[in-house]
Every structure is written in C-alpha cells, then in structure tokens.
C-alpha cells in the first residue's frame, strides 16, 4: 500500500475514535432555570451542586456512577432544614410531603430514578395554592393548601406570605433534578427527531399516495399505527386503483401505433419503500393499462414492478397482444443514458 493511502486511512481511523460524532440533539447541561431563592439559599446551593454532579456522571457514564448517595444526603438534609425553618408554623403536611420525597429518592424506582419537584398549583383565581411533590397529590389530606395572603409565615420569613415562602422553597429544591430529567427528555427528543426524518423520507422518497392509497395503507398498517407508543413509518405502502402515466410498447400494434402514452391503473399493490429482499425499495401490483389503438384491445391486464420508489416496468395482455410499459421517470432515465452514450460516442469519434 503506498504512503499517501496509509496516511489517509490512519487519519480516518484516528478521527473516528478521537472526535465524537456530532449530534444535533447532543445533551448540554444547562444552568438551573429557577429564580434565586430568597429564604433557602443554602438548600438551593446544595441542589445546584447535586445537579452538577449528575451532569458530570451523565456525560461520562463509563467513569462516573450516578451520585445516588449524595442525593440521599441532600434530601435528608433539606428535609431537616425545612422542618427546622417552619417549626411552630401551621404547615403540618410539610413533614409528610418531604417524607414522601425522601422515600422516592431513597427507595423509589431505579430506572428511571424518581426525581419529583415540589409542584405549586392554583386552579383558578379563587382557589388556594396547593403544594405537593409530583406523585403525591392524590392524597388530598397531605396536600398543603394556602390562600395567597396567608400571613402566618410573615414573622419567620421577613414579611413574606406562606404561599410566597413555599413557592420560594419549590424554586430552591428544583435544581437538583434538572440535568437528570433533562437528559432523559433529550433521549426522547433525539429518537423522535430520528423517526420524524424517517417519516419525511416515507412521504418524500416513497411512492406518491392518493386518498385511496392513504386509506388502504392506514387500514393495512393499522397494527403499527395504533400501537401504544409513538412510531416511525411502517415498512410498506399500499395502493388501490392508483393511476400512473406510462409509455407502452405493443409490438403487434399497427406501425406508428406501437409506442403510445397510456395510463396504468394499479388495482392493488404494495411497495416496500425503504428496503426489500432485493436490496432496494421494491413493489409489485396487479394492473391494467389503458390506451387507444386501432386493432388492439384498449385495456390490457398484467403486472407492474416498481423499483427505488420511482421507476416501474410492466407487462399487460391486450387480448391477443402483449404490451410492455415503463414509467415516464424510467423513460427519462433511458433518454438521459442514451444522450450520454451518444455524447461519448461523438467524443470518441472526434478523438479517432
């Protein structure tokens, strides 16, 4: 092997291992998108530190385990701090909510980890604010319910209402889960984007569909479309009474009428739009062709084969005569090839 090729191959191999593949949906750890806490700065700082540790672990999974022990310590400390800060205030459900939260972090699910936020929900202007960790709202007795002007917290929290203090607490805790939950959502985004591109290709590169084809494909592929999860495109397209302009050659037709424009109508057909057993998109249908020639039956019955979603060739029996047809795209391709061959011959002729 000569030296330039060896250098080229070495370069390719080196960059393949050193330079990570670029992904448009590559996950970037973001800054916590929550306002600075007024009353719980320490808790918020610890939450942000946990968030960064998750970022480091998720970006380098081979070398870093998820900081589960640090997370447990954070949750336990935050729970203690909250009970201490709210001691003596009429917010009995806080302990139960934080006990639930610690339980989720400590003994909840493993894959994924349960990483809920403290939700602040107000249904209408006349309703109270309701506070509960995600996953712990159904037990109404455990939900903290406060009017917006509840003043019970004012003396302990610089004049702020209890609803304001609890919203501040929710913002202080929230950063702990940002990167972990964002990372999971990013995996969803990446795969959905990939499937969206496949859907685009299904409609742009696959064979064009009429309304009937859409209906038939929807019906024939309903198991995949009605699956209980989001889906990429089905492997096949189905066709019924699908018209396609073609050019047909009937050797037995009168001279001058052998090549004619015709319309092929696919009675029923199927097309594997992305790949097939022959290694490229392929389809087949039972078809009729329609044209007008003296002495030859207008209608011919036969089969059509489709290649690469664009080109078709077919055979039809018009009474006693055989007809052979190609799609206009294939004809154009032949003409382009013919022009290229003629140009080559001209060039060769000139050299000779």
């Amino acid at each position: 092997m000569n030296r330039p090729w060896r250098h080229a191959i070495s370069f390719v191999l080196l960059t393949a291992f050193v330079v990570p593949a670029f992904s448009a949906d590559e996950f970037n750890c973001g800054d916590a998108q929550t306002p600075d806490s007024m009353h719980f700065a320490d808790i918020q700082k610890q939450a942000q530190q946990i968030n960064q540790q998750f970022c480091d672990a998720l970006k380098a999974p081979a070398s870093s385990a998820l900081p589960r022990e640090e997370l447990r310590v954070f949750a336990a400390r935050a729970h203690r701090d909250v009970l201490s800060r709210f001691a003596g205030l009429p917010l009995d459900q806080l302990d139960a909510q934080f006990t639930f939260w610690e339980g989720q972090i400590d003994g909840g699910s493993i894959n994924p980890l349960s990483m809920p936020v403290l939700i602040v929900a107000r249904r209408t202007p006349n309703d109270p604010y309701r506070y509960s960790f995600a996953g712990n709202a159904d037990n109404n007795a455990g939900v903290i319910s406060l009017a917006s002007d509840d003043t019970a917290c004012a003396s302990a929290f610089n004049g702020d209402s209890c609803s304001g203090v609890l919203e501040d607490l929710a913002n202080a805790i929230a950063p702990y889960q940002i990167n972990y939950n964002a990372y999971a959502a990013n995996r969803t985004v990446a795969e959905l984007n990939r499937q969206s591109k496949r859907w685009d290709r299904y409609f742009e590169e696959g064979r064009s569909l009429t309304t009937i084809d859409l209906a038939l494909t929807t019906w024939m592929e309903k198991e995949s479309i009605r699956a209980s999860h989001l889906q990429g495109p089905p492997p096949r397209q189905w066709f019924a009474l699908h018209p396609e302009p073609v050019v047909e050659y009937i050797p037995g037709a009168p001279s001058g009428d052998q090549f004619e424009a015709a319309l092929a109508v696919e009675w029923v057909g199927v097309n594997w739009w992305e790949d097939s057993i022959i290694g490229l998109p392929f389809g087949a249908s039972f078809s009729t062709t329609h044209s007008e020639r003296i002495g030859v039956d207008d209608m011919g019955y036969g089969v059509t084969l489709y290649f690469d979603n664009v080109y078709s060739v077919g055979w039809a029996r018009h009474g006693d005569e055989d007809g052979y047809y190609v799609s206009l795209d294939l004809l154009t391709l032949f003409e382009e090839q013919k022009s290229r061959i003629e140009r080559y011959r001209s060039a060769v002729g000139k050299v000779d």
């Binding site: 159904d138 939950n181 999971a184 959905l192 319309l263 007008e292």
Partner: protein, 365 residues
Amino acid sequence: MAKKQKVVLLIHGMGNHTAPGTTSRGSFGKEFIDTCNLALERYPKHAGQGIESHVDIVEFNYNAWFDKVRTKMADKAKSVNERLTAIGAAYQVSFPLSFVGELSSLEQKYGDDKFFYTHWLDVIFYSTILGAKVRVDAGAAIAKLVRDYGAGNVHVVAHSLGTAVAHDTLALLYRPESDPEDKIPDLHPVNHKLASVWMIANVSRLLHSVNRVADPLHSVVRPGDAGCTALMNNVRHRLDPFTWISRFSPQNDGRWLLEPVYDAYYTPIVNDLVTSGNTHAITQYLDDPNVAEVLFAQLLKFKASSADLAAARAEYRAKSLQGAYAVLQQELSSLQIGEFQSWSDFLSAGEKLQNAIDLIRKEFK
C-alpha cells in the same frame, strides 16, 4: 429576549394556520398573543403587560405539512387528468377509469379554499397515517420544551383538532411502565409532569372514535399522580358545533378522576356569551373571562381582587351580542348532529357542521 422561566406550547386546530418563521409569529400564535393581551387589559394590576412578558410562547404547526401533502396530491391528480384527456378515455363510463377520473377530479380540488378542503380534510388526514407523523413531531416539540424548561414550567394549550393532536401525542409519549416494543424513550408522569394542559373545543373523543389511538377517558392525559399534568382544563362553548359530537365531559363521580383530584386540579369551563359569529374561534374562547382569568391564574402571578374579576366579567358581558344565543340555539337545534358509527356518518357530520357554521355566519354577517 431572555428566556422566561415558563413556556406555553400552542397547538392549532383545523383550517389555515401559517407556520411561525424564525423571527415572526404564525397566525395561531398571533391570535393567542393578541387576544391574551386584550384580555389582560381588563385587570388593573396587569394593564399594559403583554402575555409575553410573563411566559415564552412556542407554536407547533402541522398545517404547513398538511398543505404540502394536499398540494402534492392536487398536482399529481392534475397530471393524471391530463393523461386521461390525452388518451381520450371515456372515463365517465368505463371502470376503473371512471373511478380514477372522479378521484383525480376530487384531489385536484384539494388546493381550493372551501370548508371541506381547508377544515374537514385536516380531520380526515389526521385520521390516516399522516396523523402518526404529526404525533411524532408534536411529541418532539413537547419533549424539547420539557428538556429546556423543566416539565413543571411547560403549559400546553390546544384548540379544536389540536386537542386530538395534544391528547393522542401525550397519551403515547407518557408511559409509567416499560414496553420492549417501544424504541422511543418515554417521558415519565412523575419526573416530567407538565404544569397544565388546556383543551379548548375538545374533539379528542371525536377523533378517537375514528382513529382509535387512545381513549381520552382512560388515558394518562389527566391531572393527578398517575397523569401527565398537574392541572387540566377543558373548555367548550354551548354553541360551538364542533363540541356537540362525542363530547369530552367527564363528571365528578370518581370514574375518571378521584373526586378530590377532580375538585382540586381539573377545571371544566362552559361559555355561553356570543361576541362574534364564529363560536369555534380561539379568539372568542380566550377573550371570555371564564377562560382568561383561569388561564392567567395558572400561567402567571395573577393578581385580581373579587371586584376586578367582577368588573372584567361585566365589561365582557356588555360586549356580547344581545339575543344572539337564543336565536342561534333555535336555529342550530334542528341540525341534529349526533354520535356516529361509520365513515359516512362522519362525512355527513362534516356537512352538517358546515351548515351550522354558515348559519352562524349569516346571523352575524
């Protein structure tokens, strides 16, 4: 502009909706923002504030893609019709050419601006495999906002056909259990619980009876611990014909939600004031204080006293068209649009809805 803490994802309904550009709003986004801004003016503590000073607004548009499909079909039908003419086919009498000719003639009209082609065809398209692609794209839009803002800061507002898109997508996107057949990682109802979901002129049950994707009364699209959202709101107008068929209207009887969850986290809203000819329009829904004050309570730090709320309602009532409700109710009651069992019922319902809309428009010309 700096990114806000909260974001609203808008999902439009049937009809022509221009897509947003890189620096411009789409038509649905513009309607939402303009109407919210007008409504905010009724509350003294928020006068002069625009909705965009409180939340970011993101639009999911699928109409542009449906238009592309419609145009491609219309163009292809044109070339087929030209070939039919060229071969001098007597397609009026000879099958299958007669059928092909009729279908091509129909598809050539897909570019027309009649109600069937601009509205009902959207519903038909959504019910086919085209809908599966819309759901993947909507899922990506939702998951991106969950990733970038945190699910607890994401509000989804859907209107008309958009409610079916929103419901079906969320139902397939959020799964608490794993499925080995599912190659797309799902969002989690606890870790990725949304802040609120708004279904305005909800047709999700109507579409379910056709496409069988997910039953709105048994899906994860609900508030509460097992649901995908903290708060859920369902809005209809008594004289919006699109909400008469297969109406989503669960009662507080413990069957859809536990009663305390229904009371605390679900808001059914029924409007009956008529201020414009189009009772289905998103603008009429959002302008009504029944909707606006609840939307603002959930989206922003909404401050309005009881007197402010009452004054806003009185101002809106003064805008309403006197006597319109009674007149419309009488005229529309004769249309008898009910549940349907087949595609022909479905298409007939489309025709009746067109008649209903024509009646309403004629009344308020």
